[in-house]
Symmetry: C2
Subunit: 108 residues, 2 copies
């Protein structure tokens, strides 16, 4: 989140900080793709519509730093990289599913 | 949402489209501020930490076009403009509150 001091109430700053972690249009789609289990980079790139490689790298780095996903590298040739949701990330499943239901009713 | 044809599954495109409507970091904070009732532009500007006037104008236009808020102009001198959540917007309240609770536990 923008490090500028948050002058508003504690509650609103907290929401702003939360949305800084998972509020991005791409992060929720990536989390949604990971609900069905660990994925490789190339799989995520196919699963998230309209995302490009640079954006996916950036989002995954941000999500790893925020403890939403873990990144595992396997010493295959070439090396394989897999991403999995942490417990913290998995707890978003009911919320994102509710958001999806809202959207199907009101946006689809 | 980027008009490029959404080649992935219908479900993932729907989520992408939904997040295009309310996925923005600012839109959820604006919706959160409107849960406590209609607000003027200047009130919203104070309530949403770190947002600037140009961004708030853009987000409110987008939200009005997507039927999340209604904009009412009152013929005072100078004219007053108030924003209110539509039924569609208000249905996001439990979802954003759950997101906030998740954040307080995992991000705060």
């Amino acid at each position: 989140m923008d490090k500028k001091k948050c002058s508003s109430s504690k509650e609103k700053c907290a929401l702003q900080e939360i949305l800084g972690v998972i509020g991005g249009k791409w992060s929720m789609s990536i989390i949604y793709a990971l609900f069905t289990g660990k994925k490789r980079f190339s799989e995520l790139e196919r699963m998230v519509p309209n995302i490009n490689t640079r954006m996916l790298v950036k989002e995954l780095k941000n999500m790893e730093a925020n403890g939403i996903v873990v990144r595992e590298v396997f010493a295959t040739v070439p090396p394989t990289v897999e991403y999995t949701l942490t417990t913290k990330g998995r707890k978003l499943e009911p919320i994102i599913n509710e958001l999806y239901k809202w959207g199907v009713e009101y946006v689809g």
